[in-house]
């Protein structure tokens, strides 16, 4: 029997295992995404604050987390912390790892979004008696949304694909399930092609969304 025939015969079993993994991939992606958004907002607020200390902290955080591979960060969190008594399960470790890493990227996205809003908006808000925090929350951030949505959608696509690295810390997501199947059946080509298809199916709607958002964001601005 050829490899392809064997793959076809076992397809329901493969799809079942990969689907379980895909659900986990979505969970890790969603978890990492939420942590990234929250952290990115906090750090962007630090970066635009008046306190030099907060600005410096945010700057150092972003530079470090952007210059080191996410795989290294995952290993520090999972194996490193594990060796000094802080044992995390693979899934939480992955969510924290991708969240801390993604937070650094989104900080820059949010900061650029805030910078894109005309200074006059925050001056006007302060002139009518708002505090800086209020101005940021009610005037600046709502206007920023339009600017930051396309890069955030792109970030989500990148994150979805990066979660494959969580297989290296034994998180039972799509790629991990694939390694197990490939080890057991030796149908590596067929299984990884299936996996590629799974990722495509998950990322294509996101990339369609990001194109739509880009089109909408440029409306009224483009020549």
């Amino acid at each position: 029997m050829t490899d392809w025939a064997r793959t076809y015969e076992n397809l329901p079993y493969f799809l079942d295992a990969l689907l379980t993994g895909a659900v986990m991939t979505v969970i890790v992606t969603a978890g990492g995404f939420i942590v990234s958004i929250l952290l990115g907002l906090v750090l962007a607020a630090c970066k635009t604050s008046r306190s030099r200390l907060l600005r410096t902290f945010a700057y150092i955080y972003v530079e470090i987390f952007r210059a080191v591979p996410v795989l290294t960060q995952l290993f520090v969190i999972y194996f490193g912390l594990g060796s000094i008594g802080i044992k995390l399960d693979p899934i939480p470790a992955a969510i924290i790892g991708f969240g801390l890493n993604g937070g650094a990227y989104l900080t820059e996205v949010f900061r650029a979004g805030i910078a894109a809003i005309d200074r006059g908006q925050s001056e006007a808000a302060i002139a009518i008696g708002m505090t800086r925090g209020m101005a940021l929350r009610t005037i600046i951030l709502p206007q920023t949304v339009r600017v930051v949505l396309p890069p955030i959608a792109n970030f989500a696509i990148g994150l979805l694909k990066d979660t494959s690295l969580a297989s290296a810390v034994a998180a039972p997501e799509l790629s991990f399930q694939a390694h197990m199947l490939a080890d057991r059946t030796f149908l590596t080509t067929q299984i990884y092609l299936l996996v590629a298809l799974f990722y495509l199916v998950m990322s294509l709607p996101l990339s369609w969304l990001s194109r739509q958002l880009e089109r909408r964001a440029s409306r009224g601005v483009r020549a």
Partner: protein, 230 residues
């Protein structure tokens, strides 16, 4: 944490990690060159007049950008063996990363080329240049301003992505760190040192990119902006 014992250990590890960093850099440079060349071909193919060529290039780009590097790495390293092609892990990593970045670089070239005004192309053809000549002498040189900063950013991403090659046991920093971590059972110290090494390699590059962005935006930036400090 920094005891004399620790310092002695670091002294033992560093030569090995630095040697591995050499492989990381070599992998980065080779994959980058491969990606830059194939990426340009993909970008030009994607703008060709032949429909099938455009479809092939677009399809390739969508496939590569929609799937993780890791999956592609396994397809090249393990998958090709079932077709009788067995690449050593380092070569497999170079090929995969090169093919992967080619798709991203193709998009960079495309946006650079489409940023040059149409009239330039028309003018070049009006004075008798062929399409290829117009591309080489007129369009590409002008698109460099748009192309260079994201291309430099790709180099930084690529440098970090080479860490993924450790998962197929290609010799580079992460693999050496994994070996040492299991040998000494000090994962925290080793992965932190590894992080510092990547930082030392990547941070100067990212400062360079910011300077490049500042230089290439000349004439378009407002007068208050300096080379971004963060």
């Amino acid at each position: 944490m920094i005891s004399p014992h620790m310092l002695a250990l670091i002294g033992e590890w560093m030569p090995q990690l630095i040697e591995a960093a050499g492989y990381t850099l070599k992998m980065t440079v080779l994959a980058y060159m491969l990606g830059a060349v194939i990426g340009l071909a993909l970008a030009l193919g994607g703008m060709a007049r032949q429909r099938w060529l455009v479809a092939c290039c677009r399809g390739y780009i969508e496939f590569v950008r929609g799937t993780p590097t890791l999956t592609q790495l396994f397809l090249v390293y393990f998958g090709l063996t079932s077709f009788g092609i067995a690449l050593p892990s380092f070569e497999a990593a170079v090929v995969t990363l090169g093919l992967h970045y080619a798709a991203y670089m193709a998009e960079i070239y495309r946006s650079g080329i489409s940023s040059v005004h149409r009239g330039q192309q028309e003018a070049a053809q009006a004075i008798g240049m062929t399409q290829g000549e117009a591309m080489r002498y007129i369009i590409l040189p002008q698109s460099l301003r748009v192309i260079l900063p994201p291309m430099a950013n790709s180099a930084i991403s690529l440098l970090k992505d080479t860490s993924v090659a450790s998962l197929i046991s290609a010799p580079e920093i992460m693999l050496r760190a994994n070996d040492l971590a299991s040998q000494y059972y000090m994962p925290m110290q080793l992965y932190l040192i590894t992080g510092v090494m990547y930082f030392v390699l990547a941070y100067p590059l990212s400062l360079g990119v910011r300077y490049l962005e500042w230089v290439t935006s000349r004439g378009q930036r407002s007068s208050i902006a300096g080379p971004a400090a963060g």
